[in-house]
């Protein structure tokens, strides 16, 4: 009974989503980035890591569409491969925060005593300016793709946990929970089966937002020199490598920044669209 209702519900949701032009734009752009990431090998014109001291700092032209950087590497290829890094980091962090954040949120929303403890710790973590916490954790772990993912996951889990907790608090009072208890469902079953089904919307929405934050955060960390290793074709690394050459070779920083902006814009549009569609009653001020 519940299943059929959900199915037509999700189809309706999808149709409603598709009516929103900005959201559709977002999906299209994200799809393009996806394709760029998967087919980077075919789309890029050069090896993004290949050093060519003879060709350093060349302006955009037929050989190098976005010019070259200080080591003679082709900027266009680096920007194309950069999509891979951003998408991999984004997906990984969103997955991790969804799993751990949801778990923490469920547990703390349902069990009052645990709530006190968990929320205090998460509040403490959130009182830190996020970037600073990230810088320090990266300094401890060292620069690598995996460590960036771990660091960002640690910093964004509290956000997901809070959102899920809020949803759980609301759901706890719903009639279906009482009904489930009445037919003998134990707290574990309620907590890990019934309630989550009804929290999917906020998780998805928060997930999209976190994806956007993560793309920005990874680029900021790489820009500051504490994120991805310096030769990696990450958008943040490329912007950083162009920083000292702003006068001589502005193309290095320029194109990679456009890439990040488009990607984040797309993600935000999708997030806004999802929010409109999945929970229009959700306070738009949040």
């Amino acid at each position: 009974m519940i299943n059929t209702k959900e199915k037509s519900g999700s189809r309706r949701t999808l149709e409603k989503f598709m009516k929103n032009p900005t959201a559709v734009f977002g999906v299209v752009v994200l799809l393009v980035m996806f394709i760029m990431a998967i087919f980077a090998g075919q789309i890029a014109t050069h090896d993004p890591l290949e050093i060519n001291p003879g060709d350093r700092l060349m302006a955009p032209g037929p050989a190098h569409w976005f010019g070259t950087d200080r080591m003679g590497r082709d900027v266009f290829s680096r920007v194309v491969y950069g999509s891979r890094i951003s998408l991999i980091v984004g997906f990984s962090v969103v997955t991790l925060t969804s799993i751990f954040g949801t778990f923490l949120g469920l547990v703390s929303g349902y069990f009052k005593r645990l709530d006190e403890v968990i929320m205090r710790i998460l509040d403490g973590l959130m009182a830190f300016p996020g970037l600073i916490l990230m810088i320090m954790i990266m300094a401890v772990l060292g620069r690598s793709l995996v460590n960036v993912i771990i660091t960002l996951a640690i910093v964004y889990v509290p956000r997901m946990a809070r959102v899920v907790r809020g949803a759980v608090l609301v759901q706890k009072e719903q009639t279906y929970v009482e009904a489930a208890r009445a037919i003998g469902a134990g707290p574990m079953r309620i907590l890990f089966v019934h309630i989550p089904r009804n929290c999917i919307a906020p998780i998805i929405i928060q997930g999209t937002m976190i994806f956007a934050y993560v793309v920005l955060a990874e680029s900021a960390l790489s820009f500051l020199g504490v994120g991805m290793p310096p030769e990696t074709p990450s958008w943040g690394v490329v912007i950083s490598s162009g920083k000292v050459f702003l006068r001589r070779a502005p193309w290095i920083s320029f194109f990679s920044g456009i890439a990040i902006s488009l990607c984040v814009l797309a993600l935000n549009s999708i997030g806004d669209g999802l929010r409109d569609v999945l929970d229009p009653r959700l306070n738009r001020k949040g």
Binding site: I51, P53, R56, R70, M71, G72, A139, G142, R143, G225, V226, P229, P230, E231, V244, F245, R247, R248
Partner: protein
């Protein structure tokens, strides 16, 4: 005929008039304040207590030692009145002092001050401690004679006495007794400029010392006549490069050190600015672990050496060619110690030879862990590409310095790291001859050569020993020298007389009104 004569006279007058301005700028102007932007506040101005070059930039105008170096690195007397009288057994150095020297507080300098300063230096300064291990005593013969007695023959004594960086500059006796161990908070010396005030993170002010007793020999580096043309020198510690550059362009500062070399193209054509390419201060080096891992095998190290293409590496990793130099020597070209010993092994760029060496070594693609800090990373990356072509499996890791230095403590964890070796007055003081550096280089021949280099007092013999040491470095390859690197300095065109040597100093410098 009178007409041609008049024209000639007029031409001569015109010539004279038009060259006047040129003459005018070449005559030193006394007066004015020089504002200098350096890249941070020095840790202290007490030269005995620090090896930071920043300290010397400021303190080099304030203090003097018994002897000093010329531009080339020859040793001449400064506070001493002549070269020392050396006993036949080469163990006793009797040094006569000049009698007219006054400290900035008006006190006359005597041998008591010299002895107190040398003793303090021997206790407080790292170079001092090293040297005093070989010194029996420092005694006072009379008010203007100091005697240094060695335990054994020691070749670096004279250059140590002339050294400014972390060197035995002369303080008044009272300062030495008041600050026997901690860095002094008062700065009283004998130099052409004296200390006025230090506002931390803001500025340090020096002013002309009217009681300065200049030598009347020609100026040459830190020797000879030192004239304080300017009324004041003000040093600003500005850690942001663009601020230093913009400051000089805008007129807030008159001089800036460490300007980004990529700005050179733009700045050299500016009419109201003057650019200086500093002499190289150091060279980039890849230090190899001779005790653990694949680099333990000498042939692997020689293979790595063989792949090095200095030009390509420096261009990709450091920048425009004007800012670096290809040179095999462990000392700089500007120094008397420069040598081309072993140069056949330098800058080979021979991938085939490397492959052969690796085969002979039985190298099987084992991972070589290589750590590089932010400054050297691009350089290492560029070198790595050649090494990969030879078949070396390089795991290049970028780390911040703090992490690198911490990991370096465990030689089992790494096989190579990138660094820079700064040139010093005496090669025995450089890291290039420091056998304990990195993982340590346990080579008996190197140790013997180093010991001989230190004890031998005659320059010719020392030079020969240094040559042998350099050859040994190129055959055993405890480290790989890349190239010398230079920096850019900037001043307004009103500044004249700047000597553009390794360390900044501002005596003999003047500024147009």
């Amino acid at each position: 005929m009178t007409k041609t004569f008049t024209t000639m006279v007029m031409a001569i007058i015109a010539l004279a008039v038009f060259s006047l301005p040129a003459w005018a700028t070449e005559t030193p102007v006394t007066g004015g304040v020089l504002k200098i932007a350096i890249d941070s506040d020095p840790p202290t101005l007490d030269v005995h207590s620090t090896r930071a070059t920043l300290a010397v930039y400021v303190a080099g105008n304030v203090y003097e030692g018994l002897y000093a170096f010329t531009r080339k690195g020859e040793i001449k007397p400064m506070l001493a009145s002549g070269m020392p009288d050396i006993s036949a057994d080469k163990l006793t150095y009797t040094i006569p002092l000049r009698r007219e020297i006054k400290f900035h507080n008006g006190k006359a300098m005597t041998s008591a001050d010299v002895k107190a300063s040398l003793d303090r230096w021997g206790k407080v300064a790292s170079y001092g401690k090293q040297l005093f291990a070989h010194i029996e005593s420092v005694t006072v013969k009379d008010d203007y004679t100091v005697v240094i007695t060695l335990k054994e023959q020691w070749g670096t004594l004279m250059s140590s006495l002339a050294m400014l960086l972390g060197g035995p500059v002369i303080y008044p006796e009272e300062i030495c007794t008041q600050y026997p161990a901690k860095p002094s908070a008062e700065y009283i010396g004998t130099g052409p400029y004296m200390f006025v005030e230090w506002r931390p993170n803001d500025h340090i002010t020096l002013k002309r010392f009217d009681g300065y007793k200049a030598l009347d020999t020609a100026s040459d580096g830190y020797t000879g006549r030192k004239t304080a043309y300017l009324d004041q020198l003000v040093f600003y510690g500005i850690s942001e490069e663009p601020v230093r550059v913009n400051g000089v362009e805008g007129g807030e500062y008159d001089f800036a050190d460490f300007v980004p070399s990529d700005e050179y193209e733009r700045l050299k054509d500016e009419k109201n600015l003057r650019t200086y390419i500093s002499p190289p201060r150091a060279w980039f080096v890849f230090v190899l672990n001779t005790k653990f891992g694949p680099t333990k095998n000498k042939k692997v190290r020689q293979a790595m050496l063989a792949t090095l293409d200095v030009k390509g590496t420096m261009a990709a990793g450091y920048g425009d060619e004007i800012f670096w130099r290809v040179d095999p020597s462990l000392a700089l070209k500007e120094q008397v110690w420069h040598s081309t010993a072993g140069e056949a092994a330098y800058n080979q760029n021979n991938i085939e030879k490397a492959k052969t060496l690796l085969k002979e070594a039985g190298y099987n693609g084992e991972k070589i862990v290589w750590m590089a800090g932010p400054l050297e990373y691009n350089l290492s990356l560029a070198a790595k590409s050649n090494m990969k072509k030879a078949g070396l499996n390089i795991d290049l890791q970028s780390m911040e310095w703090a992490t690198l230095l911490s990991t370096r403590k465990n030689p089992e964890l790494w096989h190579a790291f990138s660094s820079g070796f700064t040139a010093k007055a005496d090669p025995s003081l450089t890291t290039a001859m420091n056998l304990k550096y990195g993982a340590g280089w346990d080579n008996p021949e190197a140790q013997a050569l180093f010991n001989n280099f230190c004890t031998e007092p005659e320059f010719e013999s020392r030079y020969a020993i240094l040559g042998k040491f350099q050859e040994l470095v190129y055959s055993e390859v405890p480290y790989i020298k890349v190239g010398d690197y230079k920096n850019l300095r900037l001043s307004s065109n009103k500044v004249h007389g700047f000597a553009n040597e390794l360390y900044l100093y501002f005596f003999n410098v003047w500024k147009d009104k």
